[in-house]
Amino acid sequence: MTPPISTPSINWLAISPEIALAAAGVVMVMLRSVLRRRPITMPLCVVVAISGVVAAGAVEYRLWQVVDHHRAISTVAGMVRVDLFGIFLGVVVLGATLMTLLLSVAYLRREGLDAPEYLALVLLSAAGMLAMTTANDLIVVFLALEVLSIPLYVLAAFDRRRLSSQEAGIKYFVLGAFSSAIFLYGVALTYGATGTTSLTGIASFLAHNTLLDQGTLLAGIAFLLVGLGFKVAAVPFHMWTPDVYQGAPTPITAFMSAATKAAGFAALLRVFGVAFPLYRADWRPAVFALAVLSLVVGSVAAVVQTDVKRMLAYSSIAHAGYILIGFQTATSRGREAALLYLFVYSFMTVGAFAVLTVATRRGDDRHSLDDYRGLALERPIVGGLLIFFVLAQAGIPFTGGFIAKLEVFSAAAQAHQYVLLVIGVLAAVVTAYFYLRIAYTVLTPGEETSSAKPLETPRRVDVWSGLVLVACAALVLVVGVVPGVFVHWARDATFLL
C-alpha cells in the first residue's frame, strides 16, 4: 500500500576507503574483545590496522584512475563527491595515518600503552578524515568532523600516567566540541538561508536567487569559517593547539598536525570553493585576516617557546597561515599551492615529530630545548634528520618546504595579494630564526653539569620508526629536487567542480 521509498544509489567503490578503515577499526575492537590481552592480540591488530590503511590506499589509487579518465563520482544522493581534489587529500591523510601507525608500534611498547583501542581509534579518526575530503554536503562535513574529532579527544588523553596528556584531552575536547557547535550553527543558518545543505545545491541556489536578507547567510558563512578555523588551528582560534600538541602522545601529535590539518583544509577549500564562490568578496577579507594573524602569531610566539613540541605547534600554526594564503586567493592556482603545501607539510611535520618520538626516553615528557642539546653529536642520524626536517620547514632550497612556500608566494603574487606575500616572506624569516635555533641547539654539545640526560634508553631506532623517518625525509627531499611531478598532481587535483 505504501509506495517504496527510493533509496539513494550507492557507488560502493567510491566510499570503500572509509569502509575499509572503519571495518579494520571494528575488527580490532573485536579482536580485543575475543582474544583479550593475549600476546598475539597486539601484533595481530597492527597487521589489521596496516592492511586496512593499505587497502584504503589501493582503493584511492583505483579511484584516481577512474576519476582521472572519466569524471568525478557523485554518489549517496550527491552527499559524497569523489574527485581528484578529495583523492589527493585522502592520500595525504592515509600517508600520515600509515606513518602514525608505524611510529606508534614501538612507541606503545616503550611506553607500556599497548592497547588495540589506540590503533582502532586512529583508524576511525582517519575514516572521518577521508569522509571529510569527499564530503559534498554540510551535514556530511559535520559528521566527518565529529568522527575524526571524537577519537582524537580520546587519543590525546591516552597516556594515563601523564597528567599533561589528560589535560590535553580535556582541553581538546572542550574547545573541539565548542568549535563543532559553532560549525553546526553555521550549517543551520546556511540551511535556513538557502534551504539546502548540499554544497552544489547551495551554489546553484545562490546563483539563481537573490537573497533579500543576506544577514543569515553571511552569519552562517562566518560561523562555518570559525568552526573550521578551529580545526585547522588558524589564529585566533588556535588557543588549544600548543597545549594539546604538547600534552598528547607524540605520534598522535604527528597525526593531528598532519592529517587533521589536511582534512580541515579539505573541508575549508571545498565548502568555500564549491558552495560560496559568489560570496568571495565577503569571505576573502576574513580569510586574509586569519592568514595574517596565523603567520604573525605562529612565527612570533614560536620564538619565545622553550619546549620543542610547543615550538612545532606554533610553527604548525604559521604553516596554516601559508596554506590560508593559497586559500585566500580563491584561484585554482592558489588551491594548487595550498594542496602542494599540505602534502609537503604533512610529511615534514610527521618527520619532525617522529624524530621527537624516537629521540626522547620513556615517559614522553622531556621535550624542552635543553633536552635536545647535543642530540646530533650523540646520535648523528637522528639529530641530522631533526635538523633536516626543521630546515625543510624553514624553507631551505632543495627541500619540499622551499617549493611549497615558493608556490604559495607565486600564487599570492599572481592574485595581486602583495600584502600577504610580504607578510609571508617576513614570517618565513622570523620562523627561520627559531628553526635555526633548534638546529643550533641540536649541534652544540650539552654541558656536563646538566643532570638531564634524556637520551639514554632507546639507543637504537626500531625498524618501523626508522622506515617512517626515511620515508618522510625521502618524500620531502624528492619534492624539493623534482617538484614537477608533484606540482602536476596538485594541479590535477585543483578542479573542484
Binding site: 509506495p3 521509498i5 533509496t7 571494528v26 573485536m30 574483545s33 583479550r36
Partner: protein, 120 residues
Amino acid sequence: MTEFYRQYLSVAVLIGAAALMFGAMLGAGRLLRPNRPQPEKFITYEAGSDPVGGWGQSNVRYYVYALLFVMFDVEAVFIFPWAVNLKSLGVYGLIEMAVFIIVLTLGLVYAWRKGVLRWA
C-alpha cells in the same frame, strides 16, 4: 483580537508581574544587605561542607551504565523512522539496519568483555 491571543495576553501579564515581583524582591535585598565579599562565599556550600571529594549520592561506578544507556537510547532515534517505513524500504532497508544494529551490538560485546557490565 481573537480569543486565542487574549489567552496569551494573560500569560504576558503573568510573566510581567512575575518579573516585576522578582526584580523588586532581589533589588530591595541588594539595596538593604551589607556587602562584604570573602573568598569563603564563593565555595559551593557556604555552610562548610567541602564539595570536593564526592559526587553526592551518586557513585562514579554508575557512569559507565549511564553512558551505555545514553548511547543505545539515542541510537534508537534511527530505528524508529526505519520501523515506521519498514515495508516501503524493503529488503535493502532491512539489511542496512541489520548492519547498523550489528555494529552497535559489537560495541556492547566490547563493553561486556571489558567487564564494565559486572558490578565490581
